[in-house]
C-alpha cells in the first residue's frame, strides 16, 4: 500500500495517496497559473477548491477513506483542464500560460503561515513545514525565546512577513515535496530565476506588508484578549448560573413552597405560618396575593436574567428582542404592583394622630405614699405565638391578636402627686381609623396600695391587624418620692433618664429617688461618684453635693 498524506481543502481534511497528492498539486498549480494574471485569481481558486472538496467528499465511503489517483483523475475529468475552459482572452492567456508554465510546474517549498495547525498565528507550524520538523520544537523554541526576551518581537516580525496559506495550492506549496537529489538540483536552477523576479516585485510588496503589519499586530493582541475574555466569560457564566439558580430556589420556596416565613431575631430563627402572618399585615387577601405576584416578578425576573446571562456566556443562545422587551415590560409591571402596594400600605400606616382623650388615660395614686413598687406581670401571653422574641411577641387566638410591646419610662412629676399615664399607640389611614383602633386596644394594669402591677400584653381584635400597636407607660414621680423597679421589667423599661446614666438593665432591682437633678439610685453601692445615700437624709437635706 502507498503512503498517504493528510491535506486540508476548503476546511475539510482528506487522506490522500502520495501519488494522487502529486497529481492534485500539479493540477491546482496549473489552474492557478492559468488565472494568475486575473484579479479574481484567489476567489476563483477558492471556488474551484471548494468544488473539488465537495467531489472528494462524495468519493469517500466507509470502506474507502483514502483519495486515490483514479479519484483525482476523475475529479480532473469533471472539472476540466484549463485548456478546456472557455474564456474571454483565449489568446492572451495562451501566451501567459507559456511563459508561466515552467515556474509554476515546479513545486518548491514556500514559506506560509499555516492556518490549520496554529496556536496563535500559525507561524511556528508554517516554519516547521518549511524546515521539515515537528511544529512542537519550533513552539518550544518560541516559548524559550519569549523568556530570553526577543521571542515576542521575532514572532511578530515573522507573522508580518509570512503570508497565510489561504488556498490548497498554497498549502501544498507550504508542505512542499520530500527533499531528494532531483529537487535540490532543480531548486538551484529555479532560485536563480526567482532572484531577479523577486527584485522587481519587492518594491510593491513591502508597502503592502507595512500596511498589514499594524493590522496583524492588532489581530494578535485581539486574539490574546479574546482568549482571556473567553475564559473569564466561562468562569462568570458558571458563577452566574450557580448563584442565580440558588437564589431562584430560595425565592420560589419562600413564595410558594413553604408554609412558613422565617424570621431571624435576637433569640434565633423562628418560623411563622406565612398566610396567617401576612393576613394580619396586608389589608386584604387580594392585596396579599398581589404582593406575592409583584415580589415574584420584581425579584424573580432579575434572577432569571442572571441565570440566562450565565447560560448565554457558557453556551451561545439566541434571543428574540420581542421576548426581552416583553420580559422588561412584565418587570416594570411587577415594580408598579409592588409600588402600588407599598403606597397603599404607606397610607394605611401614615396616620398617627388621634383625639387627645382617646388612647391616653391618667391615674393619680394616693398622695400619702412615699415609696412605690413597679413590676410587670410574668404570666404567659395568651394565644398561640406566631412571633416569639425576647423583646417582641405576637400571638393569636381565635379572634384576637396579642402584643407585648410595652414601654415604661419614669419622669419627674410636675405636681405633688404620683401619676401613671397609659398611652396607647397605633398607626392607621385616618384619624377615625386610628381612634377606632385605639378604642379596641385593651391593656390592663392594677394598683394595689403602693404597688403597681403592669399587664404584659396588649390585645386587640384580629380585624385591626398588626399596625404597630404599643403601650407607653409613663410614670410621673414627684421630687422626694422613690420607686423600686422590679427585675420583671427587664424588657419593658426604655431609656429611663437618671443622674448616673445607669443603663436600663442595671437599674432593675433597685430603689430610685426623684431629686431635682433627676432619678438617683438609693441602694447602689459605689456607683461612680455617688456614695450610698440614706433615704432619711435626702428628705432633710437635699440635694447631695457630689465631690
Amino acid at each position: 500500500m502507498n503512503q498517504t498524506v493528510t491535506i486540508n481543502i476548503s476546511g475539510i481534511v482528506f487522506h490522500i495517496d502520495v501519488d494522487a497528492y502529486e497529481e492534485l498539486k500539479k493540477y491546482l498549480s496549473k489552474i492557478k497559473s492559468y488565472f494568475k494574471n486575473s484579479e479574481e485569481c484567489e476567489e476563483i481558486m477558492m471556488d474551484i477548491e471548494a468544488r473539488i472538496a465537495e467531489l472528494f467528499s462524495e468519493k469517500i465511503s466507509s470502506n474507502n477513506q483514502v483519495i486515490q489517483s483514479k479519484d483525482v483523475e476523475e475529479v480532473i475529468g469533471v472539472m476540466g483542464k484549463p485548456e478546456q475552459y472557455i474564456d474571454e482572452d483565449e489568446e492572451d492567456l495562451e501566451k501567459e500560460r507559456k511563459s508561466s508554465h515552467q515556474k509554476h510546474y515546479s513545486s518548491e517549498k514556500k514559506l506560509f503561515r499555516d492556518p490549520d495547525d496554529r496556536m496563535i498565528g500559525g507561524v511556528a507550524a508554517g516554519l516547521a513545514a518549511y524546515i521539515g520538523i515537528e511544529s512542537l520544537w519550533l513552539r518550544l523554541f518560541f516559548v524559550v525565546a519569549l523568556f530570553i526576551g526577543f521571542g515576542f518581537l521575532l514572532y511578530i516580525i515573522l507573522w508580518i512577513v509570512m503570508a497565510e496559506a489561504k488556498t490548497a495550492s498554497d498549502k501544498l506549496h507550504m508542505k512542499g515535496e520530500p527533499v531528494n537529489i532531483d529537487n535540490i538540483g532543480r531548486t538551484f536552477k529555479d532560485e536563480a530565476d526567482k532572484v531577479s523576479d523577486n527584485f522587481k516585485k519587492h518594491g510593491q510588496q513591502y508597502g503592502k506588508k507595512a500596511e498589514s503589519a499594524i493590522e496583524s499586530f492588532f489581530n494578535f493582541i485581539g486574539q490574546i484578549l479574546n482568549g482571556v475574555f473567553k475564559v473569564l466569560g466561562k468562569v462568570f457564566g458558571v458563577i452566574f448560573l450557580l448563584v442565580g439558580t440558588f437564589m431562584l430556589i430560595g425565592l420560589l420556596s419562600m413564595l410558594i413552597g413553604s408554609e412558613t416565613v422565617f424570621s431571624i431575631t435576637s433569640d434565633g430563627v423562628f418560623s411563622i405560618p406565612s398566610t396567617e402572618f401576612f393576613n394580619l399585615i396586608f389589608i386584604s387577601e387580594n392585596q396579599f396575593h398581589m404582593a406575592i405576584i409583584g415580589a415574584a416578578i420584581t425579584i424573580g425576573l432579575p434572577i432569571a436574567m442572571l441565570i440566562y446571562a450565565g447560560a448565554n456566556l457558557l453556551y451561545k443562545i439566541k434571543t428574540h428582542t420581542g421576548v426581552s422587551i416583553g420580559l422588561f415590560i412584565l418587570w416594570v409591571i411587577g415594580i408598579f404592583l409592588c409600588a402600588m402596594i407599598g403606597i397603599r400600605m404607606g397610607t394605611e400606616l401614615s396616620y398617627n394622630e388621634r383625639d387627645s382623650e382617646i388612647g391616653t388615660s391618667k391615674t393619680i395614686i394616693n398622695e400619702d405614699k412615699e415609696d412605690f413598687h413597679l413590676s410587670i406581670a410574668t404570666e404567659n401571653v395568651p394565644g398561640e405565638g406566631i412571633l416569639e422574641d425576647k423583646y417582641f411577641t405576637i400571638s393569636l387566638d381565635e379572634d384576637s391578636i396579642y402584643f407585648n410591646d410595652i414601654q415604661v419610662r419614669v419622669y419627674e412629676s410636675k405636681s405633688d402627686s404620683f401619676e401613671i399615664e397609659i398611652e396607647k399607640d397605633v398607626a392607621g389611614y385616618s384619624k377615625k381609623d386610628v381612634n377606632s383602633k385605639l378604642n379596641q386596644m385593651n391593656y390592663n394594669y392594677s394598683i394595689n396600695n403602693d404597688s403597681i402591677l403592669l399587664g404584659n400584653y396588649i390585645s386587640t381584635l384580629r380585624k385591626n391587624k398588626i399596625r404597630g400597636q404599643e403601650i407607653n407607660v409613663k410614670l410621673y414621680l414627684p421630687i422626694g418620692k422613690s420607686i423600686y423597679l422590679d427585675k420583671s421589667l427587664k424588657h419593658a423599661i426604655n431609656n429611663i433618664a437618671n443622674v448616673t446614666d445607669t443603663w436600663d438593665s442595671e437599674m432593675l432591682g433597685k430603689r430610685w429617688v426623684m431629686l431635682e437633678d433627676g432619678l438617683t439610685c438609693l441602694d447602689c453601692d459605689e456607683i461612680e461618684g455617688i456614695t450610698t445615700i440614706q433615704l432619711d437624709s435626702i428628705r432633710t437635706q437635699m440635694p447631695i453635693e457630689i465631690e
Partner: protein, 107 residues
C-alpha cells in the same frame, strides 16, 4: 482561423446569457447551474463556470450568500441583482434579434 475558436466565441456569449436565465427563476449554487448547462451541452467541464460566475459577480450582475452544506464545504448560492435582471432583459431582446437575423439570413 480555427473552427474551435469560433465555436468557443459563440458559446461564450450564450453561456453568460444562459447562466443569467437559470438564475432568473431563483438562487442556485454552482453544481445546480452546472447540471443544467451540461444538460444543454453548453459546457463540458465544470472549471469553466467558476471564473465566469466570479466575473459576473464582480460586474455587479450577481450576488451570493454562503450556506452550510452537510456533505462538504459551505456553498455559495448565487442570485441575480437588479442590474443583473436588467442586463438579462437586454440580452433577451438581443438574443431574439439574433435568432431572427440568423433565420432571415440563412434562408
Amino acid at each position: 482561423m480555427k473552427i474551435e475558436n469560433t465555436k468557443a466565441q459563440m458559446r461564450k456569449g450564450v453561456l453568460e446569457y444562459c447562466i443569467l436565465s437559470i438564475l432568473k427563476n431563483g438562487e442556485a449554487y454552482p453544481s445546480e447551474i452546472i447540471e443544467k448547462l451540461k444538460a444543454g451541452k453548453l459546457i463540458v467541464v465544470e472549471g469553466t463556470l467558476y471564473p465566469l460566475l466570479t466575473r459576473l459577480k464582480n460586474a455587479g450582475l450577481l450576488s451570493y450568500r454562503w450556506e452550510e452544506s452537510k456533505s462538504g464545504p459551505p456553498r455559495k448560492y448565487y442570485q441575480l441583482t437588479e442590474i443583473g435582471t436588467e442586463f438579462l432583459k437586454e440580452l433577451e431582446t438581443t438574443w431574439n434579434d439574433l435568432v431572427k437575423a440568423v433565420k432571415i439570413t440563412s434562408k
